[in-house]
C-alpha cells in the first residue's frame, strides 16, 4: 500500500473510532421516512401513534413499515407496546435519545 493510502487509512481509522464511540445512527431512506412519520404524527396528535397511522401517513406498505419498526425497535430507538384499547394494534413509543 502506498504511503498516501496508508495515511488515508489511518484517518479513516480515527473517524471510525469516533463514529463507534458516538454511536451515530445511519438511517436508510425507509427508516428515515418511518421515523419522520412517527415524530410528525406524535406531535400532531399529541399521543403515541400506532402502526396504522404510520402506514396511512407514510405511503409505505404495511409489511415494509412493520419490518422497519422491528429494526428501529431492535436498535432501541422505539418501543412497541400493545394498544390497551385495540389488542390488534401496537403503539409506537419513541425512546429518549440519552
Amino acid at each position: 500500500m502506498s504511503k498516501f493510502y496508508r495515511n488515508i487509512y489511518d484517518a479513516l481509522s480515527m473517524l471510525y473510532g469516533l463514529e463507534q464511540d458516538l454511536n451515530l445512527k445511519h438511517f436508510t431512506p425507509n427508516e428515515l421516512k418511518v421515523f419522520h412519520t412517527i415524530i410528525t404524527q406524535s406531535h400532531e396528535h399529541d399521543r403515541s401513534v400506532n402502526i396504522t397511522d404510520i402506514v396511512e401517513n407514510s405511503g409505505m406498505s404495511r409489511s415494509t413499515v412493520y419490518k422497519t419498526l422491528k429494526k428501529l425497535s431492535g436498535e432501541g430507538i422505539i418501543d412497541l407496546e400493545q394498544s390497551p384499547t385495540d389488542k390488534r394494534e401496537s403503539l409506537v413509543i419513541l425512546n429518549s435519545l440519552s
Binding site: S2, K3, F4, N7, I8, Y9, D10, A11, L12, S13, M14, L15, Y16, G17, L18, E19, Q20, D21, L22, L24, H26
Partner: protein, 192 residues
C-alpha cells in the same frame, strides 16, 4: 515528487472545500466583511489538523495556498486583516502543537504503543485543542501588534479558539457520518 504533489493537491482541495462550505453557511454579506473575523465555527482548521497529522509537514504548502486563495482571490480582504502572514501562522499552529507535544515526550505514531496515536480521535482532539490555542493567541498577537490587553482582544482570542475547536469537531462528526457506509463495507478498519 509525485507524493508531494498528491499531498499538496489533496490538502489544497480539502481546505478550499471546507472554506467554501464555511463561507456559504456564514450567509456572506459583502457589506459586513468584518463579520468574518473571527468566526465561532471555522471549518478549515479541520483541514489543517487532518492534513498535517496524516500527510506530514509536506501538506503545509497546499494548506497555505488554500488559505491564501479565498481571502485574496474569491473575496479580497475577506478577513479584514493582513492576508499573507496570518494564514501562515494559522497553518503552522498545527506543526507547533505537534512539536510541543513531541518535546513533552508525546511523539506522533500510528500504533497503540505510540504516545500520540494518529488512529485515536482523542489524541487528534488534543492536537486540535493545542493548535487552536497557538492559532488564536499568535494570530491575535500579530494582528494587535504584540499585545493583547483589552477585553475585546481577549474576546477575539476566545472566539478564535472556540471557532477552531467547534469547526473541527463539526467536520469530524460529519465525515464520520458520511463515511460510515465505507466503514461498514470495509470492516477491516480497526482503530488500535
Amino acid at each position: 515528487m509525485k507524493d508531494f504533489l498528491t499531498v499538496t493537491f489533496s490538502s489544497f482541495v480539502l481546505s478550499v472545500t471546507l472554506w467554501i462550505i464555511w463561507f456559504f453557511f456564514l450567509n456572506f454579506d459583502a457589506n459586513s466583511l468584518s463579520d468574518l473575523f473571527p468566526s465561532l465555527f471555522y471549518l478549515p482548521h479541520a483541514a489543517r489538523v487532518l492534513c498535517i497529522v496524516y500527510f506530514g509537514y509536506k501538506a503545509i504548502p497546499g494548506l497555505y495556498l488554500a488559505e491564501l486563495w479565498g481571502p485574496l482571490y474569491v473575496i479580497p480582504g475577506a478577513y479584514g486583516i493582513e492576508p499573507l502572514l496570518t494564514p501562515l501562522i494559522s497553518v503552522l499552529s498545527v506543526p507547533l502543537a505537534l512539536e510541543t507535544l513531541a518535546l513533552l515526550g508525546f511523539k506522533l505514531g500510528r500504533n497503540i504503543e505510540s504516545p500520540l496515536n494518529k488512529r485515536n480521535y482523542k489524541h487528534i482532539a488534543l492536537i486540535t485543542i493545542i493548535s487552536a490555542v497557538f492559532n488564536s493567541f499568535l494570530v491575535n498577537l500579530y494582528v494587535e501588534g504584540s499585545s493583547i490587553t483589552t477585553s475585546q482582544n481577549l474576546n477575539d482570542v476566545l472566539t478564535f479558539f472556540m471557532g477552531d475547536i467547534i469547526g473541527t469537531t463539526l467536520v469530524f462528526i460529519v465525515l464520520a457520518v458520511i463515511l460510515k457506509p465505507l466503514f461498514v463495507r470495509n470492516n477491516k478498519i480497526n482503530p488500535s
